[in-house]
């Protein structure tokens, strides 16, 4: 089981970082995974083109919750330009597990939402 759910994934799932919403977000964006009905919303405060504060609300499995939680940790203080460069590999690297095509979407929804919010990019991250 530990190849599917590393300790760290379960830890983020049970104690997610940055969960919630922001009062007056500069950017707020929500999207769905139509396959399983998962949803994810990310709110950002942006200062000098950098992420000052981030909060998320998500419904979904442990993988999707943990990935979103980890992503929010990853982007705090990052510039929007740096965020644009984030890829599928960055998410999989922090998760540290391999995923089949279906569950890959659970992991990538957060990044899709983030890029959708900042840049209006509608595609699944590659």
């Amino acid at each position: 089981m530990d190849t599917l759910y590393r300790e760290e994934i379960l830890e983020h799932y049970k104690y997610p970082r940055n969960k919630g919403t922001l009062e007056k977000p500069d950017i707020t964006y929500k999207d769905f995974n139509p396959l399983c009905g998962d949803e994810c919303q990310i709110d950002l405060h942006v200062k000098d083109n950098r992420v000052d504060e981030v909060k998320f609300m998500a419904k979904g499995c442990a993988i999707s919750q943990a990935a979103t939680s980890m992503l929010t940790e990853m982007i705090e203080g990052k510039s929007l330009e740096e965020i644009k460069q984030l890829s599928k590999k960055d998410i999989l690297d922090v998760l540290g597990i391999e995923l089949g095509p279906v569950r890959l979407k659970c992991a990538l929804l957060c990044l899709k939402v983030l890029k959708g919010g900042i840049y209006g990019i509608k595609e699944w991250p590659t």
Partner: protein
């Protein structure tokens, strides 16, 4: 009463498969079923011996192929006890069959201000087509509600069926609750007001004896892949008179009688609704699947699945961290949807996969139903003739293990 599962299992090659060293436990039959050797061999033999396009060539194998395709239609007609085989239209599946009715019947018969009556437990494929038609025409959808047991509440049926209702479209067996719906009652009430009824029988035809003359339904749709047959083929049954009055669906080859530059006339039934080259080998495979189901017997299959559902629910009732949905066993087919407290269905399914157990996790294409229950998703175990009590035990053990893992 359970079937002799080991004998049946030997007919399904895929059931010999191991997943990570553990035997495959296939409990996702409501999504799609596995195929017996006879279906695979029949389709293979058809390609190796008699394959050609149908209704066209005059050479030997074209005639053989045509004969086999039409034989498949007769087999389906007998299986459903239709008045004539002209009432059987081959489609790509349930979804296409329902959309055929939407386009060929709905566009002509539903106008602005009219109503279509559905139930709150429709699969998206018997909901979205009607939303699209309603939007196009300015018609309105109404819904027969379900209660806390996942059974339809028919108290208000008389007032739901109005002068404006043009069609009742409902599922025969729910793919989420497993409920066997009281379709005869609804049909009788609808017909008393002259309203036709469409049955989404995708979860019924594979598991119950369905007699369209006895039911007196006007339309009925189902898919081959859920009843041991191949993908890519399904059936629309409709009463001959209704089909005669309907407009064609897709235009093209085979559906015409006579074509001019600016107009055409339509083929007789059922060809009028079968434009283009059909799924020929798939029809032949569907026939083999029906032949197989008949040798076991639908009554026995239903008893077997219901017994497995009953056993599952008994075991589930003793697990305090588990909630399951739907009516008592006697009112359902062999599927049970449930949730483990605090664990997302995807995680449940992913952990079960580690034990070789295949279940569905998600909204099962019934999002509004889940929303009404206050759920995003659920896990569903669905049985067929080859499943065993031992497999249910494996499921129960794996679920207990899942709870332990996530609660640690």
């Amino acid at each position: 009463m359970l079937l002799e599962a080991q004998k049946i299992r030997a007919d399904f090659p895929i059931l010999k498969r191991q997943i990570g060293g553990k035997p495959l436990v296939y409990l996702d039959n409501a999504a799609s079923s596995q195929k017996p050797q006879s279906v695979l061999l029949t389709m293979n033999a058809f390609y190796q011996v008699s394959y050609a396009n149908i209704h066209r060539g005059v050479y030997t194998i074209a005639e053989e192929a045509t004969e086999l395709y039409e034989k498949a239609r007769e087999t389906v007609a007998n299986f459903l006890n239709t008045k004539t085989h002209r009432e059987i239209i081959f489609t790509r599946g349930t979804t296409e069959a329902i959309n055929l009715v939407r386009f060929s019947w709905g566009r002509k018969n539903v106008q602005s201000g009219d109503e279509i009556l559905l139930t709150e437990m429709e699969h998206h494929s018997n909901l979205v087509p009607w939303q699209l038609l309603a939007q196009e025409k300015g018609a309105k959808l109404k819904f027969i509600p379900f209660d806390s047991q996942g059974k339809l509440v028919l108290d208000q049926l008389d007032s739901l069926l109005t002068d404006k209702t043009k069609l009742v479209a409902m599922n025969f067996v729910s793919n989420t609750f497993g409920t066997i719906n009281p379709v005869e009652k609804v049909i009788a009430k609808a017909h008393a007001k002259g309203i036709p009824v469409l049955l989404d029988a995708a979860q019924a035809v594979p598991h119950l004896t369905v007699d369209v003359q006895k039911l007196d339904c006007d339309f009925l749709a189902f898919s081959s892949h859920k009843m041991l047959g191949p993908t890519g083929i399904g059936v629309l049954y409709a009463k001959e008179k209704i089909l005669e009055a309907m407009d064609p669906f897709l235009g093209g080859g085979e559906m015409i009688k006579e074509v001019h530059w600016d107009h055409s006339t339509w083929n007789d039934l059922p060809g009028k609704f079968e434009a283009g080259t059909q799924s020929i080998a798939e029809a032949v495979g569907l026939k083999a699947a029906i032949d197989y189901l008949k040798t076991i017997g639908l009554e026995k299959i239903h008893d077997h699945e219901q017994a497995l559902a009953r056993y599952t629910m008994e075991q589930f009732s003793e697990m305090k961290e588990l909630t399951f949905y739907g009516p008592p066993p006697k009112d359902r087919c062999g599927l049970v949807a449930f949730n483990l407290q605090g664990i997302h269905p995807h995680d449940v399914a992913a952990v079960l996969d580690r034990s070789g157990i295949c279940v569905r996790a998600g909204h099962h294409c019934t999002q509004p139903l889940h929303r009404k229950l206050g759920l995003e998703a659920s896990v569903r175990a669905s049985y067929y003739l080859y499943n065993t009590k031992e497999e249910v035990d494996l499921l129960i053990d794996a679920l207990k293990e899942t709870t332990r893992f996530f609660k640690k």
